[in-house]
């Protein structure tokens, strides 16, 4: 009886829940594996969304001014995750409709990043108080540029074949963190889709943290910048002094 059958469910785990950034860190690949429990045998799709800590993006456009290529004023995009990955077993557009994907933020096109339309009030065509966004019609160019540059840095990724079923109900996916991945807590949403709607969800967290000397130096430099500056300069001058003593030729 369909009524008595347990509902479809998804389960998942990460091979590592902590990524340690030490001096030999060159990025990391974390395997996510999981299983779909589907007693009815209905068609199921799996979508994985991984978001890093929020990191505002500052972006500028090069403009030609008097024959020279100069930077425009930078525009800040808020709400942008420092790392974003969407993986699924088939194209997202085939799995769910636009509204569902938008609500879940599934897919790079649905990332809720926005520029605070640097609005200013001007007098235009004799009409006062016209609100002008400085980005205006170019807005989508800017947004696409943010995504393009982040993808190039390996920080944003969308892979419509990223989730692979290795056996009936058993799937795996890989999260590739580049060396430039921000530190902090990452959230992985593992979603089971049936008939275009999310039927089950699991959330896993992943912590990327600096360890050892890297952590000590980073915290020191940011929490006590003046003592860090004095100490690193004292070290540099002492090293210079020692070198001249070592290479002294008399």
């Amino acid at each position: 009886m369909a009524v008595d059958a347990p509902p479809a469910a998804i389960s998942a785990a990460l091979t590592e829940t902590t990524v340690q950034v030490s001096s030999d860190f060159r990025g990391a690949r974390i395997v996510l594996y999981g299983a779909v429990f589907e007693p009815q045998g209905a068609a199921s799709d799996v979508v994985i969304i991984v978001r890093g800590p929020e990191q505002p993006v500052r972006i500028a456009r090069k403009m030609r001014v008097a024959g020279l290529w100069l930077n425009s004023r930078p525009v800040v995009f808020r709400g942008a995750p420092g790392f974003y990955m969407a993986a699924s077993n088939r194209p997202l557009d085939d799995i769910a409709n636009f509204g569902v994907l938008r609500r879940l933020g599934a897919g790079i096109d649905h990332l809720p990043i926005s520029a605070p339309a640097e609005q200013r009030v001007e007098t235009r065509y004799g009409v006062r108080n016209v609100v002008v966004s400085s980005l205006g019609a170019d807005y989508y160019d800017w947004r696409r540029a943010v995504v393009r540059l982040k993808e190039k840095a390996g920080l944003y990724d969308e892979d419509e074949r990223g989730v692979r079923f290795v056996d009936r109900g058993l799937f795996r996916a890989e999260i590739a963190l580049p060396a430039g991945a921000p530190t902090g807590v990452y959230r992985a949403d593992i979603l089971l889709f049936q008939d275009g709607r999310p039927a089950s969800r699991r959330v896993r967290t992943l912590t990327v943290e600096k360890v050892g000397l890297e952590r000590t130096l980073y915290l020191w430099a940011h929490n006590r910048p003046w003592s860090y500056g004095l100490a690193s300069m004292a070290f540099a001058l002492a090293a210079g002094w020692a070198a001249s003593a070592a290479f002294r030729r008399d």
């Binding site: 500028a60 393009r148 890297e214 910048p225 300069m233 070198a243």
Partner: protein
Amino acid sequence: MDIYLPIAEVSVNAPLLVALGLAVGFVSGMFGIGGGFLMTPMLVFLGIPPAVAVASMSNHVAASSMSSVIAYGRRRAVDVRMGAVLAAGGIVGAFLGVELFRLLRLLGQADLVVAVSYLLFLSVIGGLMLIESLGAILRRRRGEPQPARRDRRPPWLYGLPLKMRFPRSRLYISVIPPLLLGAFVGVLSAIMGVGGGFILVPAMVYVLRMPAGVVVGTSLLQIIITTALIGVLQAGRNQTVDVVLATLLLVGGIVGAQYGARASARFRAEELRAVLALIVLLVGLRMGLGLFIAPDEPFILMQGAAG
């Protein structure tokens, strides 16, 4: 062997950085320059954020200048009084330069100003040096005598108030020109990630008319004091000094400088100057090239929220 730089937050090849330090150290030992103008562009080219490259170079320049100033001091080739006046200007310049760089980063114009400064100063200095050294080489080939150095000092140096005696340089001049020169070099040093020797040394020779023997040693004294202050200010104000990066560069830099200094004895001074002029000119033009060429990617991401 890659190493992760904690402040720059990028992973770089450590042997490559040490080799870069060696190469630039060799060049700097050979020509008696700091080499910051070569190193900073290379670091940016390797993918280190410009703000971190510029700030960390102050530590590197301070250390390498320290390793050579002691040798000059032993030979009594340092005019401490002149060095102190230049450094007093340099301290003012350091404060101004670090704040200016901070402001430029917030406006998103830091890389532009760095490129323009490199283009302007390196191509002018490189061009002048090239003309001068090629002239000297040609005259020697033709067997003509080198023109005697004009010992007449520019009158405006003597018209200014606040005169001071500099016994070691055998000068009695106003302190205003060295103060201004020190301040100007301090600002450039903070913005360009250089020691500023390439401006300081010619200005001391041709404007202040200091005796050649004390010029390099004295300029090193000014550079150490100014870059030491800049390094601390950059760390305190901008948190952009990467001590791991500076240390890696230092290891190669110090060794390279020793071999460079030994190699320099084999070449004539004007030939060395001509080669250095070419290097300076090429770096300046290369850094400025981006201003004139249409970029492939019209957008650029600024590092983090702080720029």
